[in-house]
Each structure stands twice: as structure tokens, then as C-alpha cells.
Amino acid sequence: MFGPWPVVVLLVPALLLRNRLGLFSDEDLRLWSTLFVSICIQALPFLVLGVVISGLIGVFVSPELVERRVPKRPILAVPSAGLAGLALPGCECGSVPIAGRLVSAGTPPAAALTFLLAAPAINPVVMVSTAVAFPNTPMVVLARFLASFAVAVAVGAWWANRRNESLLDALSTDHDHSATKLHRFVDVASRDLVHAGGYLVLGALAAATLQLVIPRSALDSVVSSEVMSILVLAFLAVILSICSEADAFVAAGLPQFSLTSRLVFLVVGPVIDIKLVAMHAGVFGRSFAMRFAPVTFTIAVVSAVVFGQVLL
């Protein structure tokens, strides 16, 4: 398409002008780069794991196979896709290309979306790290598991009810006829990596910038009421865009907030954040991301508040 030029055109003036503008000190620029680079590097192994799996799906999973194996009715397909999320010990960046590839292989979109939301939120690594971060309140682990699972299933059900819409239009469903299976595997994995990876970088850019513009210490002034603190932590989860395996420790470090509002933070973060919106837009199309994000955000907040009130 355009090649590298849009990136160069944006980047070079930014680097040249940064001292003239005086918006950020050198210290701030270094902090920004540390945040930006660390979000990218931290996501890299998970993204590579994700595209390797998506490459395998591209080679070995045909629409016919999906036809035979995946339950037809959404009422069965959606919860089982949620449970399948248990098996992928990664964080959110890896599950986006996998879900995209599952849909191109013929999986019902509702089930693929449930998998997309469940995999980073309820996998064993995340549960263990949550337990480590909250050693004296093990109920947080249970509440997180149930609330996140409920979100994944609810969003899947929401999509299943919009039958006439297809995700396939947005996905790149090019079928190249590469000679060997190895060749096809590398092709699919590389394409997914470049695609999802590019959007991941875009998301990391936005997340690092927002972290710098909205300092976390500003939070303390706004924790006056329970409703406010729930909203504040929900938006913080979206802005921070940290890995689902690490967010429990950040939540543990916010003792001035109630347990319920911290549960909201833990449930919202893995399913929707700035970085993920960028990746969804890249893999499933912009109009999908624009509808998916607010619905998922709302369902996640409601689910976490309900389970928080009952269990914590």
C-alpha cells in the first residue's frame, strides 16, 4: 500500500521538533520511551505465541473441520469457547490474532469473541498471580474468575443475537495457494504478526502517552464515593493497558479503593483497553472495534460490580 512512508513522515518531524516545542522535558521523554518500549517488549512473546497458534490454525483447521467439531447452536458454542480460554496461558495481545484466524477458519464469530475475552482473563497464570497479589482475600480470585467468565459469555451472546452481521468482511480472507504446509504456516503467522503487531505498537503509543498525560497520583483526589471510584478504576484499566498477568499487583497497590472497584479494574483490563481497541480495529475492522469496545466495557463493569457486591 503506502509502504513505510506514513510512519517516517510522522516520526521524523516529531523527533526534530521535540526540543523546540518544549512540551516534554528530557526526563519525560525518557520515561515515555521506557513505558512505550516496555509495553511492546512485554507483549512480544505473547504475540509470537499467538501468531504461531494462528498459523497452525491457518494450516490445519479448515472450515469443514470446524463445521464438524464446533457445536452449531451458540448456546453451546459460546460457553465452551469460554472454557477453551482456560487453556491458553497468555495475555491479551496473543489472543487477538488467534480469534481472528478462528473466524476465518469458519468458527461462529460469537464463539471466537468469547474465546478472545476469556483467554487472557481466566487462564491459570492470571489466577495464580491474582492469588499471590491478594494473599489474604482469596475471594478476589473467585470473583475475578466468575465475573470475567460472565463477561466473555455475555458478549458472545450479544453477538450471537446479531445474526445478520458477519465479521468475515473485515478479515483478510485471502487464500493463497502456497506450495507447502510449512510455507503456508509461515505466511499466515508472519502476516498476522505484522498486522496485529503494527496495531499493538499503535496501542502502546497511545497507552504510554496517556499514562504520562494523566499521572496516577491524580487519582487520589477523586475517590470520594464508591460510584466514582468504580468509574475511575474502570477507566484507569483502559488507559494503563497492562498485561493481565500483572494487573493484580497494580490493583493490590491501590488500597485506597474498595475491593469491588479494584475487581472492576481486574475484569475490565484484560477484555478492553487502549492497546486492545487498536488491535481489534486492525484485525476485525474499525467499525467493529467502535461498537465492540463500549458494549464490552459496560458489560465488564456491570458484571464486576454484581460479583463484587455478592462475593466481596
Binding site: L15, P45, L212, P255
Partner: protein
Amino acid sequence: MVSIGAMAARLLWSGGYGWFVQQHMFIPLLLAAVVLIAFGAFEIAVGIREEQRIGATSRWRVAPTVGWLLLLPLAVLVAVAPTGLGAAAASRIEAFSPTEQTDEFPPLDTGGGPVEMRVYDFLDRAIWDDERSLDGVAVRLEGLVVNDDEIADGFQLTRFLVSCCAADGIPLQVALRGLDAPLEDNTWVIADVVWIEPDVPYADSGLRIVEAEILSIEPQPGVRKDPYESPY
């Protein structure tokens, strides 16, 4: 793609990855770098073969525009050369203090000189240990100097608690007092200190500012490659 793999490999080789992610990310990153380089090499080899066969460059697949963004972290690394979280981050993020009370603290081995301790454990004992095991014990702490206007004769010894990557880093701070000559921000120091017990217990005052008196302090040259504490 080769270049991203190479970037990861270079960071691993130089140990600089410790500024961005936790040490336990080494093996996942290494595997990712190997896979990336293998993919890239494969694509290049296939590209060259195709070119020889049909004698044109048109078979090279051009990556989508957004794919080129993958080179951006590399560009930032080269252009800015960030070296991890420091004073700027400490001033923006609320310092962390251990909240969950540990049931029991193992006794300290005070026989062989100063006790080496993580900043986290020091704060934990200072705030939560009813047996006051830190009382009068010389402790060796490591961390960064972050100057604070409210501490005239010292600074906030700062270490970041990082569970996954630097973006989730939270500062841990001990206010050190009794410094002769001021040190520059972001200097790495090894300090032997003694806990200063507060007049009012932390539990009553609600304050979590832990102070300590400097016995001796040793500024370290250069930048640490493994500057963060892990919560595990």
C-alpha cells in the same frame, strides 16, 4: 521481522531487557526472538527463490502500512536510549506500601554485619512487624536516589516493584536521613541504614512514610541492568 527479532536478541544479549521487563521474561523473549528471525529468514529465502524463478521483484509482498510501525520501538530505542524507570516516574506514581499483614516474620540473622534486604521487605517489617524486628538492626538496602524537597538532609531511596513490565512499575520508598552531601537524582546507591521508629505507630497515624538513618552509603557508578524488585 528479522530486525525486531534482532532487537529482542540484542536487548537480551546486553542485559538491557531488565529495564523494561522482569527477569523471568528472558526465556519467553529469547524464544520469540528465535521464532521471529526464523520467520524472517524463511520469507527472505522464499522471496529470493521466487525472484530467480520468475525474474521479477514483483513477488515481494509489501507489508501493510501499519506493519512498519513495528520498527518504531526500535527507532525509539536507538533515538532516546531509555534506561528504565527513575525519578521522573517516582514523582508521577503514588508510592506503594505493603498492605496485607504477613502473619509472621522470620527472625533476622544479625550476626554477620548489615542484613541485606529488599526495600519491600524493609517496608513490610517496618509497618507490620509487631515484634519490631528492625529495631536497632543495621540493614543494607539498594536503590535509586530520588531527592525530595521535604527531606533536607537526605532523599527517598526508591526501588520499583515491577511484576511484568515497566509500565506496571510502582515505586517503593524509604526516606533516608543523615546524608552529608546531596546526591544526584537517579544515582544507584547501596546504603546501610537503621530504621527510625515513628513517634506515633503507623497504624494509628495512618501515615506510611518509613524513615531510616544512614550509617554508611556507597554511590555506585553506571546504570543497573536489573533495577526492579519482583512481587513473587
